[in-house]
């Protein structure tokens, strides 16, 4: 009898601690909706091929974090709170208690440390740098202008978000989606967002990667609308070959100039250029191979699943999530448009030597945006090879986004 009682007790207790019970707790229904949303993103990643390398881990993190009582991620551990620091005699209002996280954190809390300590995005940039060929940009430095113009999307979206009365951190985090660069978005949002923010790092990342996957759908109509048939038909010549020494000096020069101008961009730009220098050096192949592959893959897995884990039901199931998605696509479209418009200006100034279609590649989203320029160009002149010319603005867009991120971080803090 006592055994049956004890068995029943244990069973009841397990039932109460189960996730099913959690669904009936306050706000538990939101978790169900979030799990359904995670299924949607899994479908987009696997079924439709939307940036699966990132969206699949993110969506699985979203599933795990919304399983009640699984305690794999604790948002409350990551809220800044105030602490009186005796040594300094001041109040630190950005205090995160790492001792508590190490003691009581779940698996995803521990892995999320790499996001909050700001090491995953720069290390992914290390790998990207080790894969990127800046040759087209060095051969045609004016591409930098297009990479700068396309960042206009970021700043105009800042206006939009501010008009919707969002906080400065939200505005900056949403705006950076227009940079079309995942690690940069995560880098900025994980530094700025607080517990009072409407967004989470995860929703920003979801929007960024979703729209990056949608580049082939979002960009072409804008490109066709803003350019004339004549402009799109411009055939561009071959780029000059770039010597090894130029490729070696480039990463050092960019690091120096950008990091000195905008120190807050230094970790991203510095690591991007470090990876590129390793690659161009030609004598560190074993390091380059690891930076491009294993290191990047390990961090991608950790980054994806933990960023997904930040999509708390409270953050996502709200009008604000809609705002993020809406403003995200606005940011993207504005960026594309800004790039194209400067392209048109350059078309005029160079008396028709530059095809404005390469301007839309300035949003980054390497290399898809450049391929879209190529494709839309070929619709007019099938033998026109714009890809090489679009790669310049494309990689300039990566640098441009990192600079824009640095500016936002310097202003909002």
């Amino acid at each position: 009898m006592a055994i049956i009682q004890s068995f029943w007790n244990t069973l009841t207790q397990l039932a109460q601690e189960s996730g099913f019970a959690g669904f009936f707790a306050d706000g538990g229904w939101k978790n169900i909706i979030m799990i359904l949303i995670s299924f949607v993103f899994m479908y987009l990643a696997v079924g439709r091929g939307f940036e699966p390398l990132l969206l699949l881990p993110i969506s699985f993190g979203m599933l795990l974090t919304n399983l009640p009582n699984a305690d794999m991620y604790h948002p409350e551990f990551w809220e800044y709170y105030e602490k009186f620091e005796e040594d300094a005699g001041t109040v630190n209002d950005h205090y995160i208690d790492y001792q508590r996280i190490l003691e009581h954190g779940g698996l995803l809390d521990i892995l999320y440390m790499g996001v909050k300590l700001q090491i995953y995005p720069p290390l992914i940039f290390l790998g990207i740098g080790a894969m990127t060929d800046f040759g087209p940009l060095i051969a045609s430095p004016r591409s930098f202008l297009l990479g700068a113009a396309a960042q206009g999307g970021i700043f105009f979206t800042f206006v939009g978000a501010a008009v919707l009365n969002m906080s400065a951190a939200d505005c900056a985090s949403i705006a950076i989606i227009g940079g079309a660069d995942g690690p940069t978005s995560i880098y900025v949002s994980s530094q700025l967002l607080t517990k009072h923010s409407a967004c989470s790092v995860g929703t920003i990342a979801l929007a960024a990667y979703t729209y990056m996957a949608l580049v082939p759908i979002i960009q072409p109509p804008i490109m066709r609308a803003l350019t004339t048939k004549k402009e799109r038909s411009v055939v561009m010549g071959q780029l000059r070959p770039v010597s090894r020494l130029e490729k070696l000096i480039f990463p050092v020069l960019v690091t120096l100039i950008i990091a000195l101008m905008i120190p807050s961009a230094a970790p991203l730009v510095g690591m991007l250029m470090f990876g590129n220098l390793l690659k161009e050096s030609g004598c560190c192949d074993r390091l380059v191979k690891t930076a491009q592959n294993e290191l990047m893959n390990i961090i991608t897995i950790f980054l994806g699943v933990t960023v997904g884990a930040t999509t708390q039901a409270d953050k996502v199931i709200s009008l604000d999530f809609g705002k993020v998605m809406l403003l995200g696509v606005v940011a993207f479209s504005l960026g594309t448009a800004c790039g194209l418009l400067l392209g048109k200006l350059m078309y005029v100034l160079t008396k028709g030597k530059i095809n404005p279609l390469i301007g839309s590649a300035g949003v980054s989203a390497v290399p898809m945006a450049a391929r879209i320029s190529q494709k839309v160009g070929q619709e007019e002149v099938p033998t026109n090879y714009l890809l090489m010319h679009a790669m310049g603005p494309n990689v300039a867009g990566v640098i441009g986004s990192a600079v824009a991120a640095g500016v936002l971080l310097a202003i909002v803090k």
Binding site: M131, A148, F155, T194, S243, L253, M368, I411, K413
Partner: protein, 155 residues
């Protein structure tokens, strides 16, 4: 100097706290203008510098190329001579009969294949011989670069 900087920062205090919501129109517009200007200034500086050294190098490269070619030939001859007596690293393809490599295949590619093979042989004291490498008709480099990135870099 740092005192001065602190005073200035106090005076200006144009930082926006992250949780601030009711941003004034001036603030917003100022962010936009500053942001765009700074990005453009930064990248324009880069344009100037990159163009500059691009032009410098165009001159240097031409003479350097000629020199390098002559030097490489001389070195190759010297190496061939030294090959019998000198210590050679295992993956150094120079001492093995040169693989029959199709014209236009970069040496690095051959080296990469040799490297992969040598790694397999590591510790065995044997040396693989690469008999020949053939490439398909080369496409324009940018295609394959974009293709590779497409497969490796959607981050």
């Amino acid at each position: 100097m740092s005192d001065l900087r602190f005073m200035f920062a106090q005076l200006l205090s144009s930082n926006i706290p992250p949780d601030r919501t009711d941003l004034s129109a001036e603030t917003i517009v100022s962010v936009v203008i500053t942001g765009i200007s700074v990005v453009f200034i930064g990248l324009i500086i880069l344009i100037v510098l990159v163009s500059l050294y691009g032009k410098i190098f165009e001159g240097i490269n031409k003479s350097a190329e000629a020199k390098a070619k002559a030097k490489a030939e001389a070195e190759a001859a010297a190496k061939a001579k030294a090959a019998e007596t000198e210590v050679k690293a295992a993956p150094a393809p120079a001492t093995a009969p040169a693989p029959a490599v199709e014209d236009g295949i970069e040496e690095e590619v051959v080296a990469a294949i040799m490297g992969a093979l040598s790694a397999m042989y590591a510790g065995s004291g044997k040396k693989p011989v690469l008999k020949g490498v053939k490439a398909a008709k080369p496409r324009r480099s940018a295609w394959s670069a974009a293709g590779i990135m497409d497969n490796t870099r959607p981050f």
